[in-house]
């Protein structure tokens, strides 16, 4: 079913003394929409540029369709890129921009005309052939950049934060468009972003990165609901991350109290990070829930409230559709299946990331 298309094997890259990627192993499958997600400086763009051929890894290999392409220059890879700044050729009109690739490949004029038409239709800009690219809006320029890449029928399309320069409404629109183009063409999309919402809403799989390391690879639901470490939990969505101790299977101790959970397989008395999503916490009358506390802050967001509750010296973040008032006594209740147990970070790199 899922056919392997690209495999990164133990890839590492430094710029000067700065290690930007280390121990990268990743398999990318045909036709999937995979997102490299992480804060700026996490190495996601470098990884994309290594796949595109714009950077050479210091060590490791890039395998494409079973062949080693580590040393192949970009112009000889069946991969195209949509650049962050669009990077259209300002001395050419829309049609000339899109036909640049096919012309270089030596395709016939008829073929090129049909393909340009198809590509413009794909990005909903039919009839724009003769337009001057410098006169187009940012969103239109981005569509032309996509058309210019897709027209070459690449096996893989690399997208380097392509939506970051667009305004919010356009960005939402383009997200849907990109997913549609991915499904319609069957081209593998490798998408780089620092925006977790973008990553979760568009991707088949998300690769969470930090400090040059891959932190977790999984479906959006997977990385959101079962983060493997505190960085992933904190970076994707809001989280309460609490120091805890795994007493035995299915029992965790937080703030001196034993609490039921669903995780198994940790050693007894093993220190862990406990993650609880703010929307999974129910507020109840005092003494009804597991932890008693007092409301310290309430922020209204439209769809819900962010409520800070101080209990046992810890500031809990709770999301609720009903508001509370500051100073109110409440108690917190969490269902056992909503408690996520994570191993404590083993490297400093994961630890540092908690501040992000």
């Amino acid at each position: 079913m899922k056919r392997e298309l690209i495999r990164l094997e133990n890839v590492a890259k430094s710029f000067g003394n700065l290690l930007v990627l280390d121990e990268i192993d990743l398999t990318i499958y045909e036709s999937e929409f995979i997102t490299l997600l992480g804060p700026s400086g996490c190495g996601k763009t470098t990884m994309l540029r290594i796949i595109g051929g714009f950077e050479m890894p210091d060590t490791g290999r890039v395998i494409f369709d079973g062949k080693d392409i580590t040393n192949l220059p970009p112009n000889r890879r069946p991969i195209n890129t949509v650049f962050q700044k669009y990077s259209l050729f300002s001395h050419m009109n829309v049609e000339e921009n899109i036909s640049f690739g096919p012309k270089i490949a030596g395709k016939s004029a008829d073929y090129i005309r049909d393909k340009v038409k198809y590509a413009l239709k794909l990005v909903n800009l039919d009839g724009y052939e003769k337009n001057d690219v410098t006169r187009l809006s940012g969103g239109q320029q981005q569509r032309i950049a996509i058309a210019r890449a897709v027209v070459n029928e690449p096996k893989v399309l690399l997208l380097d934060e392509p939506l970051s320069a667009l305004d919010l409404k356009l960005r939402r629109n383009m997200r849907r468009e990109l997913v549609r183009i991915n499904k319609e063409t069957g081209i593998t999309f490798i998408f780089v972003t620092h925006d977790q919402e973008e990553a979760l809403s568009m991707s088949d799989r998300v690769v969470v990165m930090n400090q040059g390391y891959i932190q977790q690879v999984g479906t959006p639901e997977n990385v959101y609901n079962e983060p493997e470490n505190a960085f992933v939990a904190d970076f994707i969505g809001d989280s309460n991350i609490i120091d805890g101790v795994m007493v035995r299977d299915k029992v965790v101790r937080i703030f001196g109290r034993e609490y039921p959970c669903v995780d198994v397989g940790f050693p007894e008395e093993c220190p862990v990070d406990v993650q609880i999503r703010p929307e999974d916490i129910k507020l109840a009358a005092p003494q009804e829930g597991a932890f008693n506390g007092v409301v310290t802050r309430v922020v209204f967001w439209g769809m819900s409230y962010d409520i800070d509750v101080e209990a046992d010296g810890f500031e809990w973040l709770v999301q609720s559709t009903t508001g509370r008032t500051v100073g109110e006594q409440v108690s917190l209740h969490v269902a056992p299946e909503n408690i996520q147990i994570m191993s404590k970070p083993q490297s400093e790199d994961e630890e540092v990331a908690q501040d992000v």
Binding site: P73, N75, T81, S87, F89
Partner: protein
């Protein structure tokens, strides 16, 4: 930026300057060019250009100026391409490299070339050391072209460098990404995007090369006369201002032609990426 009244006041000094020292002399030159010694209207002096000596000098001037311009262009492109690639590391050293030759007096540096190229010059002494036959270098068209290229190359490099450094690196990566080799990227992307820079470079080299008389006097040894030398002689030896001015007016035609070419590719119209 300024109100209209203030703008006019600020413009006045330049307008007076331009009127007195550019426009009025231009009228004089044209007037002398189309009159004879008696002050009557006459195109005879203009017609002199068709005479053998003058026509040959004009032909040689245009030919050598064109060759120098092409040589400058061919030298400047690879130089600027390499420099823009390393630009980030040491911009100041590079700009110094461009500007430094301009600090030297061009008369002095051309005289230096004279001593290098002449019959008993440095190169021929070296040839003798190696028991090779002497080379005739001074007083050849080649020597003049060398002098022109040496003197005017910075004027080609500067606008071209500016034009090239305006191209975003990701544009070149995009071309490569779409399958273009380095050579194809140059022809299809770099060259068209730097035409404005190249055109202003061409103008800044071609016009001084066409009108020079110092370089040809020093490196042509008075045997190879360019139109600039003939005009100079008309003023300083023949004292025939009418012929000198008539020839100047004819030379101006070439300069105007060149400027028409420049305005079609106005570098100021060049869009930022």
């Amino acid at each position: 930026m300024f109100k209209r009244g203030i703008r006019n006041i600020l413009l006045t000094p330049f307008l007076i300057w331009a009127g007195l020292f550019i426009f009025v002399p231009l009228i004089f030159i044209v007037w002398y060019g189309v009159t004879d010694e008696a002050g009557n209207f006459s195109l005879l002096n203009m017609g002199l250009i068709l005479q053998h000596g003058f026509w040959d000098a004009l032909e040689l001037s245009v030919a050598l100026a064109l060759i120098s311009t092409v040589v400058c262009l061919l030298l400047a492109y690879p130089l600027c391409l390499i420099l823009t690639e390393r630009e980030r590391d040491n911009t100041t050293i590079i700009s110094l490299l461009f500007i430094l030759p301009l600090w030297m007096n061009s008369l002095l540096s051309t005289m230096a070339w004279q001593t290098i190229l002449e019959g008993n010059g440095i190169i021929n002494q070296l040839m003798r050391l190696l028991s090779l036959p002497d080379l005739q270098m001074i007083n050849t068209p080649g020597a003049i072209v060398l002098g022109m290229v040496y003197n005017f190359l910075p004027y080609m490099v500067l606008p071209l460098f500016i034009s090239l450094s305006k191209i975003d690196k990701s544009i070149l990566e995009a071309a490569q990404d779409l399958g273009a080799s380095a050579w194809q990227t140059f022809w299809r992307v770099i060259l068209p995007l730097t035409i404005p820079g190249a055109v202003s470079g061409i103008t800044m080299v071609f016009i001084p090369a066409l009108t020079t008389f110092v370089i040809s006097a020093l490196l042509g040894g008075g045997k190879l006369l360019l139109i600039g030398n003939i005009i100079e002689q008309e003023f300083t030896f023949q004292y025939d201002w009418h012929v000198g001015c008539a020839l100047s007016v004819i030379l101006m035609v070439f300069i105007v032609l060149n400027m028409l070419l420049t305005t079609t590719f106005d570098p100021l119209k060049e869009e930022a990426q």
